[in-house]
Symmetry: C2
Subunit: 157 residues, 2 copies
Amino acid sequence: MRLTTKGRYAVTAMLDLAMHVQHGPTSLADISKRQEISLSYLEQLFSKLRQSELVNSVRGPGGGYRLSRAADEIFVAQIIDAVNESIDATNCGGSGNCQKGKVCLTHNLWRDLSDQIHQFLNSISLAALMERHDVRAVCTRQDQDTLSVTLMEADHS
Amino acid sequence: MRLTTKGRYAVTAMLDLAMHVQHGPTSLADISKRQEISLSYLEQLFSKLRQSELVNSVRGPGGGYRLSRAADEIFVAQIIDAVNESIDATNCGGSGNCQKGKVCLTHNLWRDLSDQIHQFLNSISLAALMERHDVRAVCTRQDQDTLSVTLMEADHS
DNA sequence: TTTATACTTGACTGTATTAGTGGGGTATTT
DNA sequence: AAATACCCCACTAATACAGTCAAGTATAAA
């Protein structure tokens, strides 16, 4: 099992998308600035998120990505799954053939752990995250930070 | 966060140790046979388990390892910790400086997840695992398998 | 119709960690 | 003394992450 920057980036980006629905489609460039994630890397992640039908894309100027369904119908576990971070903690991938076709000594422990984590992450929707005060505060801060950066860039040109 | 073969091996080996206390110290060679873990790799893991004072070693013939305290005082989380598999799911290691010294958009989500996992793994002792029927069944199977292997080897010589 | 925007795809690279190997030790019992 | 088993260090192959680069295609606006 692995939970690394990859899955964290994916969830962060999806939450960013959810927090900016009111401005129409969100470009990866915007997400990249706000969340400080490499644009090219975001492209890879969104390719997978699109394949899993978690987002829709709109091409051309003013385009970007949109959530493919309501924020209360998208759960953290689905996002992590989409970018291929397995939540499974067993060695055998849950099949139970860890030792010569039979279960190993600790198979059920890892199965229980996997269930626990999955249950937790599957109980949290993007909508639930959006309602959190800490999330709203960070979002406001990020919007102001990137706004002032944009103004400074305009100033220089 | 990472939970791989490394942590699984460590827990499995510790449980094996716990299940064979009645025969005195358990050699790594025995664990290696029963659990199908490379002996050299086990040595590395037990070096760390020893540093964390989870096991004691007895040198010389008939020697091996022993749990350093009762099985109901050793918890799965401690074992995984001992071999350096971090249970922390945040990017910042829990410090909260993920984005320019402040928290990132999803920091608290990962903190909550880490708490959840830690709570779960810290609630399970080796003693609790030993009582499980599935664990006892696998243990019996392994003892018989390695016993017959030993007999066959004696037969050939 | 041109042009800029922004998505799309694929190949490629550096780095870190895991998982495992191998060889030399040292301590202790028989 | 010889066998056992811990102890320690250096090394390797494979894998996956994280990121880069480059060449496209689709579309809206000018």
